[in-house]
């Protein structure tokens, strides 16, 4: 009880963050920042405090810089964003990454309490979307978005909104096909039972009636549900490829023809239930395979990273211009934390640009006036003015997307097992079918045809076609639980075939933004205070890091301060001459400067060498795990950063396999070169500079700390916390593939048993009706059980 009270006193009422440092109070409630308090006061004014009673601390911390939303007043941008609009009302759908609990749903669906001109709001929780209908005349899109922003639910707006526009039509269609097939399957089963149980001679008229009904139920299955298989088999045949859809389509066709013939000529009951069951199970397998992640997007490109609009300065005024309309020669204004959208020349202001996402450089870069700043960098500090020198799509970074790696189709990366095996399977199947046809043809024509069709029916690779989807989708959900999101089931197989792993450095094996500073010096407190005073004057990124590190000192007066750009600082503090900067600048003896490989800042006071700071990126705790992948996998490091950390990383990567200062294009080419030497390459990266390499590689994994954030287009998205599980993931993918192999053997056994009946031409519908569902159930239960056991063994669940 007491503990709970203390908690209430020190945690923010809105977001639950610790607010020991800063306390803002209102209505006897504590808030960590003004943003949170602001949200609370809006809600309490509108009588929406129930928001806080569904969950404790339902809000998300509002301690962040406010964004400009002016661009939402541009008609051309509004048109792109809204779903529907007429004179009365407008409908718009926003993607809001912060939706996370039932309070969020409740609040967002009560938007009209705050603003009555919002008629209706509906949340889709899994997709993190809210659909809003508002009055076109009385409220603007800009006001709606700023309202959302004010209550702490800032929508993520991007013109290439792939998350929103994912097509669900395909899945929708599949569900309908399954419904029809299931409906027919159920009815046919019911009508086939009397036949299997035996109908007495007096009730022969029923037999015909049931036969006709069965045939009628087969028609929608053939003409509607199974069309996909026929289409796919046909297109593949045209391309001279034998894929698994060919024997499936053949089996379905033969089943139908034989059923129709037997029923029409009153020679038998046909295989109506086998056919409907086959199509039903196949479609269910397809459904299981197409898992969708609502909140993830694997297809993003630079457009979703860049802002929707940029402030363009025209004379005295500035106005937002959509990114695609930015022209060469325009003056643009970039504020703190905004991204530079096109290659541009710096005209005004102090540019300190963070290129970590673009080039992999870990430390922000200072740019001088007149210098070209490449697109994609994020300005930190004051607002700057630039002149655009290249259109957005032709910039240094975005040119990468013109590479052929982005235009070629993604299908044939690695041939999957079922693709490989189905060729041989089909050939063997046709061989057996035709040989049994010719064997019986000499003696008995009807038996020959019956044997031929029976072989095609019984050997229809239903179980084989199901083994991969069921295993891989089980594997997918296990990866999913471990924060490793795969684009589709084929990726699991690709994962199992990888032999080379290429990693990016900044953001991939280091965490973004975190640096460790170590002081190698024996300095007194006053000396440290002097160093702090000097560094606090400088805007250089390294100085800022050091002054942050020595934060608890007060600043002393500095005289005759002089900064040599790119080298160091000299100044007089307390009448002492202090020098801070590179080893050369401070004039360090070789013996005292142990390595020139790390980022180092040396200090001397009155020409006496004090020591140095090393600035090192914080590595993810998964780096050790990555190391254990060698020698089973060949490891490469491919970084856009300078080689300061070559030595520190030499414990993980072989020296000769570390490459620094690589441009995005060079990264892509490096992957291509490895592939040409016959390697199956997995690329792990995080930034836009890795986008080309991710696309080119056989398996591109984008690593991210927050799956809602931008990640470049890839085959899989890995949460940074799970990097340490990478070796286990790789092993598990091999387990999954082994499960597929074994289930293939099982289904083959069923086929052989069935074939022994079939070649003799004596396949009864009952045997087919038992064999087909039995093999299907064996495969489904075996694959899901074996996959879960394997996952348990690897400690993934």
């Amino acid at each position: 009880m007491k503990q709970a009270e203390i908690d209430q006193q020190t945690t923010c009422y809105h977001c639950g963050n610790d607010c020991a440092d800063e306390r803002i109070e209102q209505d006897e409630k504590v808030f960590c920042c003004n943003g949170c308090k602001e949200v609370y006061s809006i809600l309490s004014q509108n009588g929406l405090c129930s928001y806080y009673s569904y969950n404790e601390h339902p809000g998300v911390s509002q301690a962040k810089a406010s964004k400009r939303l002016d661009y939402l007043k541009e008609p051309s941008i509004i048109r792109e964003l809204i779903d529907y609009s007429d004179e009365k009302s407008t409908v718009v759908t926003f993607y809001i990454p912060d939706i996370h609990c039932s309070s969020c749903i409740w609040l967002l669906e009560h938007l009209n309490t705050i603003n009555p001109f919002i008629y209706h709001a509906r949340v889709d929780f899994l997709r993190k979307q809210v659909n809003i209908r508002y009055d076109t005349q009385l409220i603007t899109l800009h006001e709606v978005v700023s309202l959302l922003d004010k209550i702490g639910y800032e929508p993520l707006i991007s013109l290439q909104d792939v998350v929103k526009k994912q097509t669900f039509d395909k899945r929708d269609n599949l569900v309908k096909k399954i419904a029809v097939a299931g409906f027919c399957f159920g009815n046919v089963m019911l009508l086939s039972f009397p036949e299997y149980l035996g109908i007495s001679v007096y009730e022969q008229s029923f037999r015909q009636f049931f036969g006709w009904l069965n045939l009628a139920f087969c028609l929608p299955v053939l003409l509607y549900s199974s069309t996909g298989y026929f289409k796919s088999a046909w297109t593949n045949l045209k391309n001279k490829v034998l894929n698994i859809d060919f024997p499936l389509a053949l089996g379905i066709a033969v089943l139908f023809v034989r059923t129709a013939v037997e029923i029409l000529t009153h020679t038998g009951a046909g295989f109506a239930d086998t056919m409907c069951g086959l199509v039903f199970f196949l479609l269910v397998g397809k459904f299981v395979q197409c898992k969708t992640y609502y909140h993830l997007s694997f297809e993003r490109d630079y457009r979703s990273f860049f802002p929707v609009a940029v402030q363009v300065i025209e004379g005295e005024t500035e106005r937002p211009v959509p990114l695609s309309n930015i022209q060469v020669g325009q003056r643009i204004l970039i504020r703190n934390n905004e991204i530079i959208p096109a290659d541009a020349i710096l005209l005004k202001g102090d540019a300190r640009v963070d290129f970590s996402f673009v080039t992999g450089e870990s430390v922000p870069v200072n740019k001088v006036l007149g210098e070209v700043v490449y697109a994609g960098g994020r300005q930190t500090g004051e607002a700057i003015e630039l002149e655009v020198v290249k259109p957005v799509s032709q910039s240094y970074l975005t040119r990468l997307w013109n590479n052929e790696a982005f235009t070629r189709t993604q299908e044939n990366k690695i041939q999957t097992f079922s693709e490989k095996i189905s060729q041989y399977f089909t050939i063997a199947l046709l061989l057996i079918a035709f040989s049994s046809l010719f064997f019986w043809l000499a003696t008995d024509v009807s038996r020959a045809i019956s044997a031929f069709t029976a072989v095609l029916i019984i050997a229809c690779p239903c179980a084989l076609a199901l083994s991969t989807p069921f295993t891989m989708s089980a594997a997918l959900s296990i990866f999913d639980k471990n924060f490793f999101y795969l684009k589709n089931t084929a990726v699991v197989e690709q994962l199992a075939h990888i032999d080379t792993i290429v990693l990016d450095k900044t953001g991939t094996i280091t965490t973004n933004g975190d640096t460790t500073i170590t002081a190698h010096m024996t300095a007194t407190d006053t000396e440290k205070q002097m160093i702090y005073s000097v560094c606090a004057n400088s805007t250089h990124p390294l100085s800022r890091l050091i002054s942050q590190y020595l934060d608890n000192y007060s600043k002393l007066d500095t005289n005759s301060y002089y900064e040599v750009p790119g080298r160091g600082i000299t100044a007089d503090v307390n009448g002492k001459f202090i020098k801070v900067g590179s080893a050369k600048f401070v004039d360090v003896m070789q013996a005292e400067a142990p390595s020139a490989q790390k980022t180092e800042v040396h200090v001397s006071i009155d020409e006496r060498y004090i020591g140095y700071f090393t600035i090192q990126q914080q590595y993810r705790d998964g780096v050790k795990a990555v190391k254990s992948l060698s020698p089973a996998y060949r490891l490469y490091l491919l970084s856009g950063d300078h080689g300061h950390e070559r030595e520190a990383l030499s414990s993980v990567f072989p020296i000769e396999d570390m490459f620094f200062e690589r441009t995005p294009q060079e990264k892509l080419d490096f992957i291509k070169h490895l592939q040409q030497n016959g390697h199956k390459v997995m690329m792990i990266g995080d930034g836009l500079n890795d986008a080309g390499a991710l696309k080119q590689s056989d398996l591109g994994i984008a690593i991210t700390d927050n799956v809602n954030n931008f990640s470049p287009g890839s085959d899989a998205i890995l949460d940074g916390r799970s990097l340490k599980k990478l070796p286990v993931f790789l092993k598990f993918s091999k387990d999954a593939l082994r499960v597929v192999y074994i289930s293939f053997c099982i289904s083959l056994t069923y086929n052989v048993v069935g074939l022994s009946y079939a070649v003799s031409g004596k396949l009864s519908p009952l045997i087919a009706a038992i064999l087909m569902p039995m093999s299907t159930f064996t495969i489904i239960s075996f694959t899901s059980l074996a996959t879960h056991l394997a996952a348990k063994k690897r400690k993934l669940i």
Binding site: C49, Y54, D172, V175
Partner: protein, 54 residues
């Protein structure tokens, strides 16, 4: 036994009605969001402040 014809006709008709209902629901978008309604139903219009605090 000719009642069987009638019964089967009824059962198929009934099944067709259900299939039709399913198609209607699918087209209506009732299967688009299978999660949020399960939360929404638990939200009262005015929940009691004390309820949430155990």
């Amino acid at each position: 036994m000719s009642i069987i014809y009638f019964l089967i006709g009824c059962s198929v008709l009934l099944a067709l009605v259900f299939l039709g209902a399913f198609f209607w629901a699918q087209r209506n978008g009732q299967h688009d969001d299978l999660y949020t309604p399960s939360v929404r139903i638990l939200l009262d219009d005015e929940p009691d402040e004390k309820d949430s605090k155990k």
